[in-house]
């Protein structure tokens, strides 16, 4: 591990600790309004000030961090599981199944992802409770974000399919299911971890984009995307520059994920 990777890992750990301790650290519940101080500046009661509706910005930031940093890894886990199942089965079985899976993957990869997300989101109700919107965002990203994982895992599984040890296992009467579970999957495990880590920053950015467009996590539930919506009001931003903290935090987290895994390509 290089020094840069160590620093990135430490920063990520610190932010995770903040996320866990959000309930203890927050000055007020995230939805509580202080109607006498809308757009308030930093004070002892509200260290980061308040938003246009008079809600404490620090509370919203801590809870928003918790929502975004739980949502993205959960979606990454779901997409990696789908990618691992499809990719390893396609690479291991080969033939028509592999061709069909790769054709569908290529097709999905050719389509701009946001168009796909918007189409699926349009099919679901928009006027939903905040918690349901979190679940919808998690399911959408997890169920639609497996394509890149499938390609990589399929290519690796194809390499294992032709390996000597698998030939030996096959010749000693190992059943396909056992081959897949006991011999192929354990060898692909580092790749699964890698795909999981690569997907997290991608999903963090996607959630931010969706929420800014009003199609992600719904108010009053905070998330980094929801908090970034306040940037449209530049006069309030100029009056209280601490409103930039959610963006700075998001950039730091995504950069840390990039530096922890330096060879990745983050695509939106």
């Amino acid at each position: 591990m290089s020094p840069l990777q160590k620093v990135a890992a430490i920063i990520l750990c610190l932010i995770l600790v903040l996320m866990v301790l959000a309930t203890i650290l927050v000055p007020a519940p995230y939805a509580r309004q202080f109607r006498d101080v809308p757009n308030g500046g930093p004070s002892t009661a509200h260290p980061l000030g308040t938003d246009a509706l008079g809600r404490d910005s620090l509370s919203r930031l801590l809870y928003g961090t918790r929502v975004s940093l739980l949502l993205a890894p959960a979606a990454a886990l779901l997409s990696t599981v789908i990618g691992a199942l499809l990719g390893s089965a396609a690479g291991f079985l080969g033939g028509w199944f592999e061709r069909i899976v790769l054709a569908v993957t290529d097709l999905s990869l050719a389509l701009p992802w946001l168009f796909l997300l918007l189409t699926v989101r349009a099919m679901l109700p928009l006027d939903v409770p905040p918690m349901v919107s979190v679940i919808i965002a998690f399911l959408m990203m997890g169920l639609l974000g497996w394509q890149a994982s499938v390609r990589v895992i399929c290519a690796a599984a194809r390499g294992i399919r032709d390996s000597d040890y698998l030939l030996l296992a096959r010749s000693s009467g190992c059943k396909p299911a056992r081959l897949l579970l006991r011999h192929v999957a354990p060898n692909l495990r580092p790749l699964f971890y890698m795909q999981f880590w690569i997907s997290i920053p991608l999903f963090i950015l996607t959630e931010a984009n969706l929420s800014i467009l009003g199609l992600g996590v719904m108010e009053p539930m905070p998330s980094w995307g929801n908090l970034l919506r306040g940037f449209e009001d530049f006069s309030a931003l100029a009056a209280n520059p601490l409103r930039l903290v959610p963006l700075i935090l998001l950039v730091i987290v995504v950069m840390c994920f990039q530096f922890v895994l330096p060879s990745q390509e983050v695509t939106q």
Binding site: P112, N209, M255
Partner: protein, 304 residues
């Protein structure tokens, strides 16, 4: 002489192979169009609220008009009939009507597509130029400072959501294509740089340098032929990135393009519109990728 004949045969074979590949791609696109149309029809048919005609409740509509509406609706009641009507209408370029805007989707696409394609093409042009220039400059000076600053800058841009870049573009009053180029640039820069570094590290380039060839000659004759096919593939991929970035950028910059149309359709749950916009974008992306793939293969074939 036999060698010459063999060479000619190889060229013919290469051309035939390329033609076969192009035909397969075209067939794939056609099948995909049909499959996409069926999927679109299914999504529209089973969307919540399908078949509900609010116009029937409008007191300004005459009895005859309401009856005509009902008869038109009855034509599409059976599932098989619906699919047949949908596909035949699609074959005639009829993409249906937008539920929210009450206008033909085809007309909306005709209006909006040039706006987005103009922004995307200009944005890609700027992004490619900047990425190629910076990557080439970086090859001349492979110092740690340049490397670190380049990595930090592209990582910073990669960490910004495209919607935030769009908000900055609104604030700075920059055109939409500039915001698109800022989104695409870091991805291109990273890839082009690693590709060029990999090409320059090839043994044949080292041999050419040892023989005293100029840097220009090395680049054009030895580096570019190796790097061109993946670069052409990247061109196809960059179209998808730029179109994806167009949604938040056009929505927030109030640019009347496809991205804004898709966003408005999603917000108003206008499925006929969003599904057809996505279908058209998907076909355009696949055509661009196929063209890039064919160009890469043709280039690789001609340089071998």
């Amino acid at each position: 002489m036999p060698f010459q004949r063999m060479g000619k045969m190889t060229k013919h074979e290469k051309a035939a192979k390329l033609f076969r590949h192009a035909s397969r791609r075209l067939l794939f696109l056609f099948c995909l169009g049909i499959g996409g149309a069926l999927l679109s029809a299914t999504l529209v048919r089973f969307a919540p609220g399908y078949g509900v005609q609010e116009r029937e409740l409008d007191p300004r509509w005459s009895v005859q008009s309401v009856e005509a509406l009902r008869q038109k609706q009855a034509l599409h009641e059976g599932l098989l009939l619906f699919y047949i009507h949908y596909i035949s209408a699609l074959a005639h370029g009829d993409l249906g009507e937008s539920d929210s805007l009450k206008r033909p989707v085809r007309e909306l696409l005709r209006q909006r597509f040039p706006v987005t394609s103009n922004s995307v093409v200009r944005g890609l042009g700027v992004a490619w130029l900047a990425a190629a220039l910076l990557a080439s400059l970086g090859l001349g000076s492979r110092g740690w400072l340049y490397e670190a600053s380049g990595t930090a800058f592209s990582s910073l841009l990669l960490s910004l959501p495209s919607a935030v870049i769009a908000m900055l573009a609104v604030h700075l009053r920059t055109p939409v294509f500039c915001a698109i180029s800022v989104v695409v640039f870091p991805r291109l820069h990273r890839y082009i740089r690693s590709l060029l570094v990999g090409s320059y590290d090839q043994p044949h380039v080292l041999a050419a340098r040892a023989r005293g060839l100029g840097s220009g000659a090395i680049f054009w004759r030895h580096v570019l032929p190796v790097a061109a096919p993946p670069l052409l593939a990247l061109l196809g991929v960059s179209f998808a990135i730029a179109f994806g970035a167009a949604i938040p950028i056009e929505a927030l910059c109030d640019s009347p393009g496809l991205g804004q149309l898709a966003w408005q359709a999603a917000l108003s749950r206008d499925l006929p519109l969003i599904v057809n916009v996505t279908l058209v974008v998907c076909l355009v992306m696949l055509a661009a990728n196929s063209l890039a793939d064919l160009a890469g293969r043709a280039f690789a074939g001609s340089t071998q």
